[in-house]
């Protein structure tokens, strides 16, 4: 299958995205941001639809909306008692806007399907370069704040007690999360991007006992999912996203059951 250029591009882009989402996911799960990641993917959908409406690449629309959304939702969820209700309200608003943008842009339903469910088999060279660059930017951002991010994500109270300035770290992470949602959506679609951002890392929590170990396991599970998903998608012509979802859920369930039996 590697004789086809589109498959080579798909594998290359997916590999970088899986590594990025696998690592970001460790912090998403540690900070209990799974619901926020889900909301951001819906905001991303609205952004992509907006991009179609004004005639730019969906990726840039997603980046714009998720960046604005992550900061505002992040702030809101930190400063309100009704965290889940407020996030739900924002989700509803953005999905509604996404539907509107798609309708008034007059684009066909194929475009909407690509945004919602992913379209990695179809990226061109320029897309690949964009996705790899954005992945590297996210990874470098995390590396730059890794020490305080680790402390704050895994022991917020302890981090505050040692005088760490946790607010700035939180904002850097929200930006990294928004970018990860945008690039992850290119593979699995905005509706299912939280798969890559939460399931591999949740599975890794059952296995790893250090942040490094969890990050390695999370990346491994994300890579298994996207590589196998692309392969099965190629040979069956079924959606890649379907296979990625099934594989990640299967790995998670196995780890969960082993953990449950042991305890």
């Amino acid at each position: 299958m590697f004789q086809f250029e589109f498959m080579r591009y798909a594998f290359l882009a997916s590999t970088f995205i899986a590594v990025t989402c696998g690592i970001v996911g460790v912090y998403v799960v540690a900070r209990s941001f799974s619901f926020l990641a889900h909301t951001l993917s819906e905001i991303g959908f609205a952004g992509a639809a907006f991009a179609v409406f004004i005639g730019i690449s969906p990726l840039w629309g997603m980046l714009l909306f998720t960046l604005l959304g992550s900061i505002s939702v992040g702030e809101l969820s930190l400063h309100t008692d009704q965290k889940e209700s407020s996030i739900s309200a924002i989700s509803a608003l953005f999905i509604g806007m996404g539907v509107l943008f798609l309708a008034i842009s007059g684009s066909n339903s194929r475009y909407a399907t690509n945004i919602l469910f992913g379209s990695i088999v179809g990226v061109d060279q320029q897309d690949v370069i964009q996705l790899i660059t954005l992945s590297l930017v996210v990874l470098l951002m995390l590396l730059a704040v890794a020490r305080p991010l680790n402390f704050d994500s895994f022991d917020h109270i302890g981090a505050v007690a040692t005088g760490l300035k946790t607010g700035a770290v939180g904002i850097v992470f929200l930006v990294a999360l928004a970018m990860s949602v945008s690039i992850g959506s290119q593979i699995v679609g905005s509706l299912l991007v939280f798969i890559l951002l939460t399931l591999p890392a949740s599975t890794a929590r059952y296995i790893g006992r250090s942040i490094g170990a969890m990050a390695c396991w999370s990346v491994l599970f994300a890579l298994i999912g996207v590589w196998a998903g692309l392969y099965f998608g190629f040979i069956t012509n079924w959606p890649v996203t379907f296979f990625i979802a099934v594989i990640e859920v299967a790995i998670y369930l196995v780890a969960y059951l082993i953990h449950a039996i042991r305890n």
């Binding site: 981090a159 040692t162 790893g208 250090s210």
Partner: protein
């Protein structure tokens, strides 16, 4: 050496704290000697944690001041941590959160030293989520000790522990005070425990503060 021990670690002058119209405490004055071992006693809700948070610089007092002696390095073990039973990091990894991303041989040796000091070396690879209350408290303390403080503040560290775990933690704190001359401020409402291990007391009640030797402490409160 004797001279340094009798110097003040912290001097608090006319410290007042108000939240809106409510006065938490008013005009507190006290000092803690270097190498001292002091219990901060008082009923629940009397402002002990507020006082500690001010000393830690987490928020400013309404009026008054406090001064730490030059060279005092504070370690703080807060009252609550939100680690659930599924918390994944091992005791060792949890401690290492308070350290560099890339661990030098020197840092690893320090972690090993604190693990032994806090009697956690044999269980360093079990998950914090699976550790007992006493083991967790010792891990919190060990994490703070990696900063090499010469003064530690512990907020209700024994509140949820069984008697055996309490004794073990207090023995450890006593050891840190006696062997390493670490100044200890121990927030608690457990008077018998404080009488057994602490030398001095600060008693905060109804916004007022009294200070004295632990053996002479006779207040009774809920």
């Amino acid at each position: 050496m004797n001279q340094t021990i009798t110097q003040n670690a912290v001097t608090v002058t006319a410290l007042t704290m108000k939240f809106d119209a409510k006065t938490v405490f008013h005009d507190l004055n006290f000092e803690l000697k270097q190498g001292s071992m002091t219990a901060l006693l008082g009923p629940n809700g009397t402002g002990k944690t507020t006082l500690i948070n001010i000393l830690m610089g987490m928020f400013p007092a309404t009026a008054g001041s406090y001064t730490f002696a030059p060279g005092i390095k504070l370690g703080y073990v807060p009252q609550f941590r939100n680690l659930d039973a599924e918390y994944p990091l091992s005791i060792r990894s949890f401690m290492e959160l308070n350290g560099p991303l890339f661990k030098s041989a020197e840092f690893k040796a320090e972690v090993n030293h604190e693990l032994i000091e806090t009697h956690l070396d044999s269980i360093q690879h079990i998950r914090m989520g699976e550790a007992s209350g006493g083991q967790k408290q010792r891990a919190y303390l060990a994490q703070a000790l990696l900063d090499k403080p010469n003064m530690v503040i512990l907020d209700e560290a024994t509140a949820s522990l069984d008697p055996v775990a309490k004794e073990e933690l207090m023995g450890l704190i006593k050891h840190l005070n006696e062997k390493h001359q670490i100044t200890v401020l121990f927030v608690t409402h457990d008077v018998p425990l404080a009488k057994k291990y602490m030398k001095e007391y600060l008693y905060l009640n109804r916004g007022q503060l009294t200070q004295g030797k632990m053996t002479t402490f006779t207040e009774v409160y809920e």
